[in-house]
């Protein structure tokens, strides 16, 4: 591996374990998912309101948190926030 003084460290040097995570998708494509993810979030909220088993509730909470993070990011991005 050839590096020079001042060149940035490779990703392995910064975080060896992170370099184990595979790359298999595209962040840019997430931007095209706003409508479907919003619809999914609406559905999850509705299902939570209907109630159900504790296990179902736990799974819905996890899914909703994921969708909220992604939609918040998309919202900030479209608003120039990030």
């Amino acid at each position: 591996m050839s590096t020079t003084i001042g060149s940035p460290p490779d990703s392995f040097s910064l975080s060896p374990l992170l370099s184990l995570l595979p790359t298999c998708g595209s962040v840019a494509r997430v931007e095209g998912m706003v409508s479907s993810l919003f619809a999914r979030q609406e559905k999850v909220v509705q299902l939570r309101e209907q109630g159900g088993s504790k296990e179902l509730e736990r799974r819905l909470v996890c899914e909703e948190a994921m969708l909220r993070q992604v939609l918040d990011w998309l919202s900030a991005k479209s608003g120039g926030g990030e």
Binding site: S11, S19, L20, P22, G25, E42, R59, M66, R68, Q69
Partner: protein
């Protein structure tokens, strides 16, 4: 013909497509790389629920458990990835690292051997796996 009006919430729930899963995972990975662990945690945990057969998200969860020093959690998440992809050397290395932290030499040695065999057989193309393997082998050989 008039179609009945339907709200989105009336529609049946469909599972996530492979493309949705990999792209959301990539966003979670980006947040891991930038140190936004709360956001990454929500994404990886969500993917573990909606796409439990997607091994990379289990690796992301294993990484997060490691940052929390929850080594039992690292083993659990990496083992979930291994159940889906038994030849995943990245998951094996997560188990090795956690097993060494837990002072479980037997588990660490077993998975180190598995990774070493695959490296020797030329089945590993990621040079970072080989680098990390050598580091863990040194830890294993110098353990107390």
């Amino acid at each position: 013909m008039d179609l009945p009006s339907r709200k989105p919430s009336d529609l049946p729930r469909r599972s996530y497509s492979r493309e949705e899963v990999v792209d959301i995972y990539e966003l979670g990975k980006l947040w891991l790389e930038s140190g936004q662990h709360k956001r990454a945690e929500d994404v990886m945990s969500g993917l573990n629920e909606v796409a439990p057969d997607f091994a990379p998200a289990w690796l992301g969860t294993a990484f997060l458990r490691g940052t929390q020093l929850d080594y039992e959690g690292v083993v659990a998440a990496a083992t979930a990835a291994l159940r889906l992809e038994p030849d995943c050397v990245e998951a094996m290395l997560f188990v090795v690292i956690a097993a060494l932290a837990l002072k479980d030499s037997s588990m660490a040695g077993t998975y180190l051997g598995e990774v070493g065999d695959r490296i020797e057989q030329g089945q590993v193309s990621n040079p970072n796996v080989t680098r990390l393997y050598k580091m863990q082998l040194a830890r294993y050989q110098n353990r107390e």
